[in-house]
């Protein structure tokens, strides 16, 4: 069987989240458990029905096994791949293979992080990772990662294409506009371009408003084969195309800071889904930093390389604009607990179900969720569609 034949053969049938924003007194595992439970219930299933599991944690290398133990599972399919925030969409393709081949029947993809309210400070964790996962050719220069890596990419994009800080700010302003329509979003105060430009500098040209939130949050979704999905209680979000690409880990090893591996993951996902960027009704792009949205719009083919700044100008990706991007408010304004990818998938599914409330995109039948991991390291694209798109 060719992988393209997986198009539409599996679907997301349940989504759930927990502890968005601040969940003091909870651990990563507890938020994951609550989110997983919510997703399984949303699917109309029980945890005992779950026989496939995919999860990871940036700080715990054997996280998958801890999750299996905590949830009381005996899975026939496991995936503990950690490629950073995009991990949660990177799980989809292999899970679809496993479901279709009959290796398993219901895959739970889940994540939880209490990084904001954790008693263990992020500085402690950052220093521990420097010892456990050293990068000796970057560490001597003390880049403030991740922001510095993305700042380097932003600066290069500005140099090559004339992109301006105002364009980056447009991304933040648009995300905030969507967040103001989302009662679950963390940051909902008005935000202007001037607010972004004059905010505290982090790593030139990025200010704190160019950077994602640091919140708590757990998220999860459940995948089954398509025939079973049609019998369950929620409107299925069918997996039409999915692909993941990794070209480098460190920013100093990235061949061209203005071209991400989203070019590869997007091309493969669209090819498999049999559609084009112009066909997509609603887009979720991993906006860890404002430059990300511009880069991914270009590399996924929504606009030409170098034109991302113009594309996002004048509120074009805000509510009422030409393209609905990051309708939950994004990592910039909704939620970002360290690895944000699962929330992009959840929002895409909810839009396709028509559960978006005030932020619902009309006639949403095709959705794209694109995750990024590390420092522009991993890229993973998934195209989802309603039954009308099969």
């Amino acid at each position: 069987m060719n992988y393209r034949e997986l198009r539409g053969k599996t679907a997301i049938v349940g989504v759930g989240h927990a502890g968005l924003g601040e969940a003091p007194g909870y651990t990563d595992m507890e938020l994951l458990t609550r989110a997983a439970h919510a997703a399984v219930k949303d699917a109309g299933l029980r945890m005992q029905d779950i026989d496939g599991i995919a999860t990871s944690s940036v700080s715990a290398s054997m996280w998958l096994m801890s999750v299996v133990e905590t949830l009381g599972l005996r899975p026939t399919y496991i995936d503990g791949t950690c490629v950073g925030g995009s991990s949660f969409m990177s799980y989809i393709q292999a899970a679809a293979h496993a479901l279709w081949s009959g290796q398993c029947n219901a895959v739970l993809v889940c994540y939880g992080s209490a990084q904001r309210t954790s008693a263990l400070g992020r500085g402690v964790i950052t220093n521990a990772r420097k010892v456990l996962d050293p990068q000796p050719y970057e560490a001597p220069y003390e880049p403030m990662n991740p922001p510095s890596s993305y700042a380097l990419a932003a600066r290069r994009h500005m140099h090559e294409f004339g992109t301006r800080r105002e364009h980056l700010a447009e991304v933040a302003v648009a995300a905030r506009a969507w967040a103001r329509l989302n009662p679950e979003a963390y940051s909902r105060d008005p935000l202007t371009i001037d607010d972004v430009l004059s905010a505290r500098r982090v790593s030139d040209p990025l200010t704190v408003r160019d950077c994602c939130l640091v919140t708590d949050g757990g998220g999860a979704f459940v995948m089954t084969r398509a025939d079973r999905a049609a019998t369950l209680k929620q409107k299925p979000a069918y997996i039409l195309g999915s692909a993941t690409a990794v070209w480098n880990r460190q920013i100093s090893c990235m061949a061209d800071l203005t071209v991400t591996a989203a070019r590869q993951s997007g091309a493969l996902a669209f090819d498999m889904a049999g559609c084009k960027p112009a066909d997509i009704d609603v887009v979720q792009l991993y906006d860890a930093f404002t430059i990300n949205t511009i880069l991914f719009l270009e590399d996924l083919g929504f606009c030409a390389k170098g034109e991302g700044g113009a594309f996002v100008s004048g509120g074009a990706i805000a509510p009422g604009g030409r393209l609905a991007v990051n309708t939950n408010g994004g990592g910039l304004s909704c939620v970002h607990p360290g690895m944000y990818g699962v929330f992009l998938v959840i929002e895409a599914v909810r839009q396709l179900r028509g559960e978006g409330g005030a932020r619902q995109v009309r006639d949403a039948n095709l959705a794209l969720a694109h995750g990024n991991g590390g420092t522009l390291s991993s890229q993973s694209t998934v195209v989802l569609g309603t039954a009308a798109t099969l």
Binding site: P136, Y137, S148, A151, L152, R156, S203, S252, L257
Partner: protein
């Protein structure tokens, strides 16, 4: 079964030894003639085990840079840069001895080893381009 000898030291240690003796060395593959950085055991371009240490000219240009905000008490703002060397490898470094506001993409630099507070590291000094494109450090 193919047995690979691990006598001697790995390349990360060899690089550090060179640096400790004041030498910034990169690798060049004898099989495909391309230069390699960061140091590796195997050429990432041609998969051959033919990497040898060479001294780069040290001449390069700034590919990108960022100024990290840091309070004056903690030492103040500092720059982090990505440098493209003539040998077509890139490294993370910093540009020293110049007003941070004067750093820009395309700036010609000369890499050298300095004794950093946590050990020796490669830093880059801005150079004035001369005729023929060969810079001379001020």
């Amino acid at each position: 079964m193919t047995q690979v000898s691990t006598a001697g030291q790995g390349v990360e240690r060899q690089y550090a030894d060179h640096l400790a003796q004041g030498r910034f060395m990169i690798q060049r593959c004898s099989a495909c003639a391309r230069h390699v950085f960061p140091p590796r055991e195997l050429c990432p371009h041609c998969d051959e085990d033919e990497l040898a240490w060479v001294a780069p000219t040290g001449r390069g240009t700034v590919y990108s840079w960022t100024t990290v905000a840091r309070t004056p008490d903690a030492g103040g703002d500092y720059d982090v840069a990505l440098i493209d060397l003539e040998e077509q490898v890139r490294l993370m470094s910093c540009v020293v001895g110049i007003d941070p506001a004067a750093v820009n993409i395309g700036l010609a630099v000369q890499a050298r080893v300095e004794a950093g507070k946590d050990g020796p590291r490669v830093v880059c000094v801005a150079v004035e381009p001369q005729q023929g494109g060969q810079g001379r450090a001020p």
